[in-house]
């Protein structure tokens, strides 16, 4: 009982709270604006910031580059990054497991299977004009199926340990690889080129017709996830405890699974598999803002968008006029980070 009477209430909690959180969120917002501006201006054809904002004269070529190429691509990169990072943070909270990344545990793979199925076989039953809607829909279905399956596994095992989850992820990813390989075998030459792009991950195919439907889905899904931050915090006590504290756990799980799957599915449908964004970003945000999902989710949105836009910028400019797939850049950053996470988890245990 030594510390029972250490101090009289002093308002210390109020004073020492994470008071610095709002300015930090603001800083993340500023970082996003800066990186978006850089990404719009820098490229094979450089644009001036004055021209972009309409203060300076621009040629028609510059206009076309800005509105038809640069802008949709940057918007896609920002939204896909935001969606993947928010989905990663939400899945980590849902599975109560810091290594739950949509790519590692097979959710992105499920989305890719759905999208590729639609590309290869969709022409048979869907009109060409509706494809921008049906590919994301198929990808979301694939992502939701895998997430649901993972959750069923988690319940079945009782306690879903980190290693078990990653092993299940390996198995699910292997299944996706089989399905994708099968589809590749059945596809024709033009479809095959699209499929290669899928497995590497790239924002290079962004056009407004494909970006807008996916963007709508990502905005709604990410908004829903952010609104569940507090409930996801209480869920960390355990499902039973959360119920005792008035959280409708079944509804929360369903909403989280569907929203995370929608965000991942929509992102994968337009950009392929961009690995590790959903893992790295929430971790960095937790280091900055603390573990509370009320802050981790919005923070992940902002930092996910920033990181993704910058990764795409790097992918575009390192070997001008050619470009790297952005998935390669995020993996090059993410894989060592992942190793570091495993090492630090080991040394703590």
């Amino acid at each position: 009982m030594s510390d029972a009477m250490v101090a009289e209430p002093s308002g210390k909690v109020a004073k020492r709270g994470f008071g610095q959180r709002p300015p930090l969120i603001l800083a993340l917002g500023v970082a996003l604006i800066v990186s978006v501006s850089l990404a719009i201006c820098i490229g094979a054809i450089p644009l001036s910031i004055g021209g972009v904002l309409g203060f300076a004269e621009t040629s028609s070529i510059e206009q076309t580059v800005l509105y038809s190429i640069r802008l949709p691509r940057v918007v896609l990169a920002a939204l896909a990054g935001a969606g993947l990072a928010a989905a990663g943070a939400a899945l980590q909270a849902l599975f109560r497991n810091p290594l739950a990344d949509p790519g590692l545990i097979g959710v992105s793979g499920g989305a890719a299977v759905g999208a590729i199925f639609m590309i290869v076989f969709g022409a048979g039953f869907v009109a060409e004009a509706l494809m921008p809607y049906f590919i994301p829909l198929a990808a979301i279905t694939g992502a939701a199926a895998v997430t649901g399956l993972l959750y069923a596994f988690a319940r079945w095992f009782g306690n879903f340990e980190v290693s078990t989850m990653l092993l299940v992820g390996i198995a699910l990813n292997a299944m996706s690889t089989v399905a994708i390989g099968g589809f590749e075998f059945l596809s024709d030459d033009t479809q095959l080129r699209t499929l290669v792009f899928w497995t590497m991950g790239s924002y290079g195919r962004a056009t407004w017709t494909t970006v807008l439907p996916a963007a709508t889905v990502i905005v709604i899904a990410a908004g829903t996830l952010v609104s569940r931050g507090r409930a996801l915090d209480v869920l960390q006590l355990g499902e039973v405890e959360a119920r005792h504290l008035s959280i409708n756990v079944d509804l929360l799980k369903r909403v989280t699974v569907i929203s995370a799957a929608a965000a991942v599915g929509a992102a994968v449908a337009v950009s392929g598999i961009i690995a590790f964004v959903g893992l790295i970003v929430p971790h960095i945000v937790r280091l900055i803002l603390g573990p509370s999902n009320r802050w981790v989710l919005p923070g992940s949105l902002l930092l996910g968008a920033t990181l993704s836009v910058l990764a795409d910028l790097v992918a575009r400019i390192v070997i001008i006029p050619a470009e790297l797939p952005v998935g390669l850049v995020t993996s090059a950053l993410g894989a060592p980070f992942f190793l570091w996470l495993i090492a630090s988890a080991r040394s703590r245990a």
Binding site: D3, A7, R96, G238
Partner: protein, 257 residues
Amino acid sequence: MIEVRGVSVRRGKRVTLDNVNASVQRGQVVGIVGPNGAGKSTLLHAMAGSLGVAGGEVLVDGQPLNDLSLAEQARTRAVMSQHVDMAFPYPVHEVIAMGWEPFRGLQPLDTNRLERIANDCGVYGLLWRRFDQLSGGERQRVQFARTCLQVDGILTFSDGGVWLLDEPTASLDIGHELLVLRHLREAATRNVGVCLVVHDLEKAARFCDHTILLDRGRVAASGAPREVLSDHTLSEVYDTPITTEWHSGLERLLVHA
């Protein structure tokens, strides 16, 4: 008040509770005792409504538990489970603050209230530590404080409630054990019905008004501690020779095994 009537619970083929009747009145401390695997936690969680019952009914103030919304349930009773692990490095004050969740829509959590509860529960010095780095006993004290905050909320918005605790003192040293048990006694004076699973029979006799002795899923005895905790019943239920002795100097029941 919470009452279970003829409740049975099955886990697979095994019957873990068999036609059990029990109740917790406001202002009363009820202790559930019994050997390992007797169904003590199961009975507590049946009262809490956190597991499906195969038969019988659970009533809260005469109303079936399932008729109440989750929010209404959470504004009537607090539950402390045995183990809570958290995968993320939440600071202790955020963990305790989660106890206010059911009342957040009615009134925002005042940090003075949080500090007062932390002080009362002897966890003030832990408020800024990371929950995942605490020892087992410290975690238990923090979870106790979290449910204590919930009980404080229940008493703020109604005139009484129920507090269910599954071995709240299992990993505590003797000082903190007494702090928790005195706290529960004090809560009972404020019209809270307390029900706890407890292993220490002497503590059960000292702090409870009523004891329920479970044996293999059935109620072996129920009533005032000194009647229930008799040599004969205890020896039979625990399958060990047990003698009890009333120490008139201490005014306490001593249990020798």
